[in-house]
Symmetry: C2
Subunit: 339 residues, 2 copies
């Protein structure tokens, strides 16, 4: 009983099942794929695959269906990349290139990915923490209130109001603004503690309390993870693949409404050598996502990965195609943000 053929059978089962959504039996398998052995032989292989927990039958006397474990092995060892056509590549690039600002880039990316994969697409906004800073502004709103505006290399703009002691002179503010910009520009949060300390020291002791407060708010804002945002598109595609879910798509929709769930998920996922991460069915902690798989990849801004994008659908998905699409969009997204 050849090990190779067994894996070939698994691959064939996954292919067929993904295409037809029907449990696949031994006869149809030998007919559709050119395995030059008899159905009986395949049955033996299937029995072995079932023992190994890679496939299962929904009920006696039905064909076989891949299990999560089966899909996992398929993804890790059997699926071959399905490169996008040059036309598709051009289309992606052209579409993203027309974006006018960061919001627009993110919006276009997520729609694009949803359309390419026919699934639910999610895009995480560039993390403040991991982004390099471009500019920082302090705007007086009242005598005792400042607005801090932070602009990152990726184009993200974040603002935060803070209370300050009354009567800080305008020139102090101006100096602080200048020094802060000189020390933060082009740096990321991790490299910021020391330069910011130096900024504080540069001021006379009497003003240090005020400066320290500003610096602390800046650090807090950058470190804060609650500001992580996600956008989503293609939820309607879930309804189309509704038949792939045991009962309803409700638990999935519920999980998707909890942005926290998605954010955790995306950040937990470990990427393989090719830069793509895949979570299959029950590998997801969240119960509502037990029947869904997620394909994710990081994108970069200024050379550094700053956030992730992903595609989510039923475990019965076209993994090869989805992986290609996710990777392609991530790559073009990085390219746009770099330019």
């Amino acid at each position: 009983m050849s090990e190779d053929r067994r894996l070939e059978v698994l691959r064939a089962i996954v292919d067929d099942y993904v295409r037809t959504r029907e449990p696949v039996g031994s006869r149809t398998l030998v007919e559709r794929h050119r395995l030059n052995v008899s159905p009986a032989t395949i049955r033996n292989d299937m029995a072995a695959l079932e023992d190994a927990g890679l496939i299962a039958q929904p009920h006696t006397s039905a064909g076989r269906v891949p299990t999560d474990k089966g899909y996992r092995l398929f993804v890790d060892r059997l699926s071959q990349v399905k490169p996008l056509s040059p036309a598709e590549q051009r289309a992606i690039h052209a579409f993203l290139e027309d974006a006018v600002d960061l919001d627009d880039v993110v919006d276009r990316s997520v729609r694009l990915l949803a359309q390419l994969t026919h699934q639910v697409a999610v895009v995480q906004y560039p993390s403040l923490r991991r982004s390099a800073l471009r500019h920082l502004e302090l705007v007086p709103m009242a005598t005792d209130r400042l607005l801090m505006v932070i602009i990152t290399e990726a184009g993200r703009v974040e603002q935060r109001a803070l209370d300050v002691p009354e009567g800080v002179p305008e020139h102090t503010l101006g100096e602080l603004r200048a020094r802060l910009n000189a020390s933060v520009a082009g740096r990321r949060l991790a490299d910021l503690t020391e330069p910011l300390d130096q900024v504080v020291q540069a001021f006379p002791v009497a003003e240090q309390e005020f400066v320290r407060r500003v610096v602390r708010v800046l650090e807090e804002t950058l470190a804060e993870t609650t500001e992580e945002r996600i956008v989503m598109a293609g939820t309607a595609n879930l309804a189309r693949s509704g038949l792939d879910f045991a009962h309803t798509i409700r638990p999935v929709l519920e999980a998707l409404e909890e942005q926290v769930v998605l954010l955790n998920l995306l950040s937990e996922m470990a990427e393989d050598a090719a830069g793509v991460a895949v979570r299959i069915g029950h590998e997801n902690e969240h119960a509502g996502l037990a029947e869904t798989s997620i394909v994710a990849a990081s994108y970069a801004s200024g050379g550094q990965p700053v956030a992730r994008i992903g595609s989510l659908g039923p475990t019965r998905m076209d993994y090869a195609g989805t992986i290609s699409s996710v990777r392609a969009v991530a790559r073009y997204l990085s390219r746009i943000l770099a330019g």
Copy 2:
């Protein structure tokens, strides 16, 4: 044949059908509601209601179901307000009050409304156009590039980058900033054209081109409707009421993904005396929403209505309850934004 009783019968049919999701027949109707007449009488009334297009039967020998027109009449003349309990009112207020900024307020509002109505809730961000401005900032990003930050009374912050001629002196920028703030603060877009004109005139001719450009970008940004944003919650509730839709919830999800559709819808809807607008089934232009009803109300900031919130569900919905909830949330939202 009394007209009054006929309407009473319609009301009973709507009540029953909303509660049970089953076509309601003459016998069960007299049993459940204390109409002291015989089923045969009700049948006659039903025939009349059907002639008037207010109810219909899914198939011969089934009970009756309200039509869109029937719901419409019910909403306009028959439904009585269902005030929220004081406990609910307090809960709403307390929940919204804890919000830390505008994003948070909007986010909480939409979740709250989804939970109260068990339907899909949408909240439109305060319109820039209709909001009063609080502050305006000009931040130099490069020698030939400015960032304009606009802050509204409602707390919305909007930014826009613009190219400017090289070498505008710092003091010109400072003066422009001061003059702009003096002339826009507390005003809305409609009242802005003339003051802005005066700002332009206040500068020497040589600098007017630059100033004019800044002013034009400001006006554009405020006028632009593409920046209108919507947030949504409770899509999972659609799955629960999936049985209320002819086939799948897909067209509904698709419509919801097109923010433009929702924005148009919300802005088209005309509010009645009580400040609530209702669109029922086919009254919606969009085909995907032909089986859904929408209840919307405006909320205000600084005395002026600035945007809308709404609740969307199957036509077979609890109109009285939904209307109360939408109105309550809109009112508390206005209160929070005023404080």
